[in-house]
């Protein structure tokens, strides 16, 4: 089965999942006590007619499944509708924040990989030594610190006392050098947890591969230890690291929800939490669906990469 057909089959397989996600999101938001109209009209002595007209505007009085179908119809036309809380369209709200979210997430993911994988390899090769346990403790220190507290500490040390990095995002486009310089702290804070995970995973994967026979054959061929590790062992170990990397997408957004607030970074995480708390359900559904698609695509990419890395796996 060729790659194209495999990707097509997998995409079709994901549709029920996306459907499930949209139903769950819709149901969940409907369960939230209070409606967006209450939010908009709170502490206003609004006349009942006004309340009714606003409810009608958001189809709040129609049966729930009809509301879902109406919403689904809009989504299929990529019209996510208007935000309840502000008069900007949902799509605009998301598009405004997408680059920021991707840059922060990507930067953190990169740091996690560049720190996590090498540490994992060293820990595995030097297994049982002080270096192994030392690197593990350092990596775990990243995962053990509550990220908002770590963020605040970094701001305090590097932003306020050393005045090295601005405390709030500079007024510059997201790819400008000073923005990226600012992003170092949030990306490090966000990436530490994932880095610790990658370290642990790589360590067990490399340890597993080091036991395989082909490593002995490689050494018997007269290859130096570095080539044996980097060329032969690493490629086999990456196979299992890749599958977990995909799950990181949702994990990174978890962290982003907190980190974006601490570093005042305008990302989707912050938008999503505020939308949940403000019952701005068009935004909630749109962002959650977007994240779900991202997670599903990431899993798909991981499987394709997995198959590309390991020839034994046929599509």
């Amino acid at each position: 089965m060729s790659l194209r057909r495999y990707v097509l089959r997998r995409t079709l397989l994901t549709l029920p999942i996306l459907f499930g996600v949209s139903v769950l999101t819709f149901g969940l938001v409907k369960l939230l006590p209070g409606t967006p109209v209450d939010y908009v009209l709170q502490f206003q002595d609004a006349t009942p007619e006004l309340r009714a007209s606003l409810r009608a505007q958001y189809h709040l009085d129609e049966p729930i499944w009809r509301q879902y179908l109406l919403w689904l119809n809009d989504v299929l036309h990529l019209d996510f509708g208007d935000r309840v809380v502000s008069d900007r369209s949902v799509r605009a709200a998301i598009v405004d924040r997408l680059p920021e979210t991707l840059v922060l997430g990507g930067f953190a993911f990169l740091i996690a990989l560049l720190v996590g994988v090498p540490t994992g390899v060293v820990a595995a090769v030097r297994r049982g030594t002080l270096l192994d346990e030392g690197s593990r403790v350092v990596a775990l220190a990243g995962i053990a610190t509550p990220n908002f507290w770590l963020g605040l500490l970094l701001i305090l040390v590097f932003g306020v006392h050393l005045n090295l990095v601005p405390v709030i995002p500079p007024v510059a486009p997201v790819f400008a050098p000073e923005s990226l310089a600012f992003l170092v702290l949030p990306a490090v804070t966000l990436g530490t947890a994932s880095a610790a995970l990658f370290t642990r995973l790589t360590r067990s994967a490399v340890t597993e591969q080091l036991r395989q026979e082909y490593v002995r054959t490689a050494r018997a061929k007269g290859l130096d230890e570095r080539t044996v590790i980097v060329k032969h062992v690493l490629r086999n170990s990456l196979v299992s690291v890749v599958t977990v990397a995909a799950v990181q997408v949702a994990f990174l957004l978890d962290g982003a929800v907190v980190i974006e607030r601490v570093f005042s970074w305008p990302g989707l995480g912050r938008l999503l939490v505020r939308a949940i708390l403000q019952r701005d359900f068009p935004v909630v559904q749109a962002v959650v669906l977007l994240v779900a698609v991202a997670v599903v695509v990431a899993n798909l990419l991981a499987d394709v990469l997995y198959a590309w890395l390991d020839p034994r796996i046929a599509y």
Binding site: V40, F43, D87, R88, V160, A172, E178, V184, S264, R270
Partner: protein, 554 residues
Amino acid sequence: MPPFTTSRRRLLRWAGATSAVGLAGCAGGSGDGSELVATLGADVSAYDPTQANDTTSRKAFDLVYESLVSVDFEGNVRPTLATAVDQQDDRTWRVSLREGVSFHDGSDLTAADVKATFERYEGTPRESDVFLWYDDATIRDDYTLDVTLSQPYAPFQLSLGGVPIVPEAAATGDLDLSTGPVGTGPYAFDTHEPDRLYRLVRNEDHWYAGDGEVRRTSDSGAGEAGDGVPDSPPIETITFRIIVEQSSQLAALQAGDIDLANNPPADAVADLRQDDAITVSERLAGGFEMLIFPLATPPFSNRDVREGVARLVPRQEIIDAVYGGIGQPAYAPISPLLADYTSESFLQEMGDEHQRYDPERARELLERGFADLDISPPYETTIVTNETGDRVRWSQLVRDELNRTDYFDVSLEQFEWNTYVGRVLAGDSHRSDAMMALGWSGGWDPDTYLRNMFHSEQSTPSCCNAAHYANDEVDRLLDEALTVYDTAERRALYEQAQRRIVADAPVAFVRFGTRIEAFRTESVEGFRTYPLDSGEFTAIYAPWANAYTSTGGG
């Protein structure tokens, strides 16, 4: 943390440096490059006054729009777009507009714009801003119009201060305010990057020409306004950085990334005052924190029990521990800010008679109350609060105080804002088994402190009388006071209403609100704290209030 080589650290420092310069340089065109960096605690969600229901949006476009009249730092009504507002009879007022005023889109201000502004409020979330009093308006000529009220409305002039004038095109649909505010104010809207920043740029042809002829409209004319205010705002660009996290905002202020921080937490004020680069200004505001009793649920249905609880609220301890010693205890709804309608002596009297902290008196009252209802203490109940930091803290202190007596076993329940609002404003809020910790902010008119909270018609869910307090006499007093124009007469009516309310104690008053601002001393000069949160940035440029701010060193 990947190790930084020194060269990389220099890059960071350099990057750090340019960004600071970038901040200081003005994004707009020419001009002296003076910029003030202030902060907003949440993202601006609307530019159109009829849609904006949150204080952040209102304070963000406060400098862009102007209303017919404005209220200065002492509460006096000052002519702004209207040169005069004269009463014809008890239901009609004649408004004469200032000539030569233009909107940011170039169109001239005429009476038609004013009438259109009023009428476009219908069917919008902020409908009540206008339609509580507005009936009709007849345009006499381009610069005069008569406004007829649906009934005599004492706070008419003050209410005019809360209605920003927008171009008529906004009503006809030619201009879409949702893309950006268009008003006549000293600053025009420049850009808004959601969740990041909101920038205003100086409006070069603002109507005020520095000739000091702005006078107070009301007869008691206290001094000439506008003398000494330059003809155009000294600060060219105002950039509002949107920082949700309080601790990040404080860090940014100390690091110098921002010049002005809004509403810093009270207990951080002591630390900020130690930093001599930072000035903290605070002022009594219009509003109060309170604990609402569900009147339909025993034992809170009993007056003695309610007053007993009110007398157990440790107000001074709350002010010291939670608010860093700032603010004063509240024993009645109307804030001392409204000097015309209340006085210290009145407040002390209310305190002594009904609400002041007095554990022995409280024990007697509770003993009698529980006996009347023959409920055996301790009564298990909860205090419900939302996540606002100060409120969470003072409700803990009230809980501890109540639990020290053997009459109550109180636990605390915290809800995020919307779930909380859903509970507090629910139709059966008076039958819930919980006391509700809530804050209320009024305006310049005494009615805003009483009607919504204590008028029987305002019981939840139509508005905010969560206790479902219903007293015919109070209703009558409040309705009458609304139609009487004479201040002295209104004061007497409100005083009588307050006496009745405080005696019935549907709520325990805790503390009058204070507005706190912290700014970097050398980069903010002349800034004064405005008592209402939505008018926070008034002092940046308000010729009608004889106030302006410059960036000092700049």
